[in-house]
């Protein structure tokens, strides 16, 4: 074994168990056809450390994780587990070593119960039969132990996406007994849920579990990690000890330039009122009265499940209101379909890119142009040139990393997919833009671009409703901030008029 090992010397000297890194990568590489997703990387993970990985969208973070958990097979390179080369060809093999991951998109079975999901692939069996009651009890005690207040017997599909994410975490933590990877775990979590997660991660670290943590939120990286590695364009550009670096250095390593300011905010003269709701009620929200003016960003903050998405879906005609009224540029309207909302001049970039935002097995160009086919149709037909021009312009403007407008959306990284969700509305000529969690899974550089884009839309006379569960984002950007709690609009603040703490307590309701 040693003989075939080009780095044999390292393996030989690493006899003292404690000094052998738990996992070591040598020249690990992955290509998807022409895409070089991960260029040969050397990296070691020490026992019991929390190792953060940061990088732009499409930098190769998820690819690295998938390689380590046996989800995809590597193109070349070697992986050493406690000094011994391992194949890691299947998820099963990785689980056997005690390696597990919480993947970026929640991957669990909606039709099975929480307990069944937690023990999937590792069921308790007696006399050939499943011990269902036993497993439910165990799952419940694990959940209770972790402090997640979730029932173990309900169907997973009945939980919110954030709760599902927590179940995925709990599940990974009972399998990844040695090495646990989190790929953007907080993207769908509320603040309290995130706090629960951090507590869990620290506890696992105390137990000697090695943790890899991927996030676009740098403050989380600084809060949690011991070391941080930076990926850029598939290349591992460096590893830093977290205590010895700072946000500016990380950003410049990630995007190869410095970024003075992430939250790009411009102030415009408030124009005429575009949209106004009076005591609007609908499925999931009650009695919401607010107005949006041209040149203004109205922020909606709240915990996940507070009813903000439901509110904007009703504005967009996806659900029908049950009470109250909507005024569009002063005139009362009854919006009954998405098309009607679009014709009025409303655009909505929905919160779930996978379920609501994208046709992921269709090309990028198709997705970008889908909302505007009625505009570019001539005599019932879509002219090829208009189709191509508009798609190509969007791809260039948004710097979408794709092999062309013919590439399928499913081959893009998470963040680049998010750019398509937003980009498809920019050509539409709307006056009111609704962005529901527009920066979930988006890297800092792109976030800054998106914020610039908002400013550009405002400058052109549009109004914006911005929904975010990430308080700094709405706090820094919104001209007027509404706080939602359990379907109600419980507070309204002008720009920077209240502190983070005040807003949080309003959202939680203590």
């Amino acid at each position: 074994m040693v003989g075939t090992n080009p780095h044999g010397q390292a393996a030989e000297t690493a006899v003292a168990a404690a000094s052998v890194p738990i996992l070591e990568l040598r020249g690990l590489e992955k290509r998807y056809g022409a895409t070089h997703a991960l260029k040969p990387a050397d990296l070691t993970f020490a026992r019991g450390e929390i190792h953060a990985i940061v990088g732009e969208n499409g930098a190769g973070k998820s690819t690295l994780i998938k390689l380590l958990t046996g989800v995809i097979t590597r193109t070349s390179g070697e992986v050493f587990w406690e000094g011994r080369p391992v194949a890691l060809a299947t998820p099963h093999e990785a689980i056997e070593f005690g390696i597990n991951a919480v993947h970026q998109e929640v991957v669990l079975c909606r039709h099975l119960t929480v307990a069944a999901n937690m023990f999937l692939g590792d069921e308790d069996v007696g006399f050939g039969l499943l011990r269902k009651g036993e497993m439910t009890r165990k799952a419940q005690s694990i959940l209770d132990d972790l402090g997640f207040q979730l029932p173990a017997h309900v169907l997973l599909g009945d939980l919110t996406i954030g709760q599902q994410q927590l179940i995925a975490t709990a599940r990974a933590s009972i399998r990844g007994t040695r090495f646990l990877i989190f790929d953007e775990p907080t993207a769908y979590l509320t603040r309290t849920e995130a706090a629960q997660l951090f507590a869990l991660i620290r506890r696992l670290k105390e137990r000697g579990v090695t943790i890899v943590y991927i996030s676009h939120r740098l403050e989380e990286v600084f809060e949690l990690s011991d070391r941080v590695s930076i990926l850029r364009d598939g290349t591992l550009v460096g590893t830093r000890i977290t205590a010895e670096t700072n946000e500016t250095e990380l950003i410049s390593l990630m995007i190869n330039r410095s970024l003075e300011q992430i939250y790009h905010k411009e102030f415009f003269e408030a124009g005429d009122v575009l949209l106004e709701t009076k005591n609007l009620s609908g499925p999931g929200f009650r009695d919401v009265s607010l107005s949006v003016r041209a040149g203004q960003i109205v922020g909606l903050y709240g915990l996940i499940g507070a009813g903000r998405s439901e509110f904007v879906l009703s504005l967009f005609g996806r659900h029908h209101k049950t009470g109250g009224s909507i005024f569009w540029q002063g005139k009362e309207v009854d919006i009954r379909s998405e098309r009607q909302a679009m014709d009025l001049g409303i655009a909505l970039a929905p919160e779930s890119r996978r379920d609501q935002g994208l046709c992921i097995n269709l090309p990028v160009g198709f997705n970008l142009n889908l909302p505007i086919f009625p505009h570019i149709t001539m005599a019932g037909l879509v002219p090829f040139s208009a189709d191509r021009q508009r798609a190509d312009r969007q791809i260039t403007d948004l710097q979408v990393k794709a092999s062309g407008r013919g590439a399928l959306v499913s081959s893009l990284s998470g963040g680049n997919q998010q750019k398509i969700v937003i980009g498809k509305w920019l050509n539409h000529g709307a006056r009111l833009f609704i962005f529901d969690e527009p920066t979930v899974g988006v890297d800092v550089g792109t976030k800054a671009e998106i914020y610039r884009l908002l400013a550009r839309l405002l400058a052109e006379g549009a109004g914006i409703i911005l929904i975010s569960s990430y308080l700094p984002e709405v706090y820094e950007l919104a001209d007027e901030l509404h706080v939602f709690r359990q379907g109600e609009d419980v507070a309204r603040h002008a720009y920077h008029a209240a502190s983070h703490e005040e807003i949080l307590s309003e959202a939680i309701g203590v």
Binding site: T69, V71, T90, P91, H92, I95, H103, V107, L108, C109, R110, H111, L112, A116, N117, L120, G121, D122, E123, V125, G128, L129, L130, K132, Q149, L150, P151, H153, V154, L155
Partner: protein, 322 residues
């Protein structure tokens, strides 16, 4: 969420499931009630025995089909497998194989066909619809070739009497439903691989990432389906006393319809063993009742179609509400 409300939710959930099973059973019983009021002959012992015989073969097929549908697949070949296996069984019996050997070999043929489907889907990456459609076509051809387009007469009386006889007051055929249904129930609802069948149907990627052997599970589902079909082939050969490759034409659609009437979702991950069984007997009762009421054969088709729509519609409603 407190433990109390949690367990309350459990009770509600499982009683709803139970009620759903009941409601289908209720429908079946209501149909029986109406028929026993409108005809003299429905509630006679012979007719009930006939009904049990008539429903049982589709019922067994529907159980096998259900495994496949739960994995989001479909098995269009089951009717052809039945026909083909009547030929195999008849051929073996006329070539002096013992009944025992005949049963084992015929079931083995079923297993082989199922493995082939698994191979096509897992290894070759073919859509289940296509590979099973291809097998449908080819198997009928092979069966016809074996018999040279004719029927093989089965002269073994022990074999042919099996489908006719009763045991402890129930037709043997109905016992066969129980023989298949009980292990199938335990397998699907209480075994590890049964659960994997659901997991694969719900989210194949998640199942794979959890270390579930997805390929094996798919193989298993198709093999069970084909084996059930081969078993039905044996029963059919015994019942009609001949081997004929063109028999059981269209039974795949009846099996699928039974399964869906019994609450199986064609989008996968939803289904049971008892539902399809009840579904098959509902269809059998529709036909039996129509025959007893001497409804024109053409109206029978029309009514069957409409009832399928109605039953599945109300089932959807109930599930959406529940």
């Amino acid at each position: 969420m407190s433990t109390d409300t949690k367990s309350a939710a459990v009770v509600r959930k499982s009683s709803a499931n139970w009620l759903f099973g009941l409601t289908l059973l209720g429908l079946l019983l209501a149909m029986c009630l109406v028929l026993s009021l409108t005809t003299k002959s429905f509630m006679t012992e012979t007719n009930i025995m006939n009904l049990m015989r008539q429903g049982s073969m589709i019922a067994i097929l529907a159980v096998g089909e259900t495994f496949v549908i739960i994995t989001t697949g479909i098995d269009l070949s089951v009717g052809a497998v039945v026909g083909f296996c009547t030929v195999i069984a008849a051929w073996l019996l006329t070539h002096d194989f013992s009944i025992f050997a005949t049963v084992i070999i015929t079931l083995g043929v079923g297993v082989a066909i199922g493995m082939f489907h698994g191979f096509g889907i897992v290894q070759m990456g073919l859509p289940p619809f296509i590979i099973t459609l291809a097998t449908l076509t080819s198997l009928r051809g092979i069966g016809l070739l074996v018999t040279n387009g004719a029927t093989i007469n089965i002269v073994n009386d022990t074999f042919t009497e099996f489908s006719r006889n009763d045991f402890v007051g129930l037709p043997n055929l109905f016992w066969m439903v129980i023989l298949v249904g009980v292990p199938a129930y335990i397998f699907l609802h209480h075994s590890r691989y049964g659960r994997y069948v659901f997991a694969v149907g719900s989210n194949m990627e998640a199942a794979r990432l959890s270390g579930v052997n997805v390929k094996l599970t798919v193989y298993l589902a198709y093999t069970l389906s084909s084996t059930c079909a081969a078993f039905v082939g044996l029963l059919l050969a015994a019942r009609i006393g001949v081997g004929n490759a063109m028999q059981a034409d269209g039974w795949e659609l009846q099996a699928i319809a039974s399964s869906v009437i019994g609450g199986t979702s064609l989008f996968g991950a939803v289904g049971s063993v008892h539902g399809p069984l009840i579904g098959a007997f509902i269809l059998a009762t529709i036909n039996n009742g129509a025959n007893l009421l001497n409804v024109n054969s053409f109206w029978q088709r029309i009514i069957t179609g409409l009832l399928i729509i109605l039953i599945v519609y109300f089932d959807q409603l109930r599930r959406r509400r529940g």
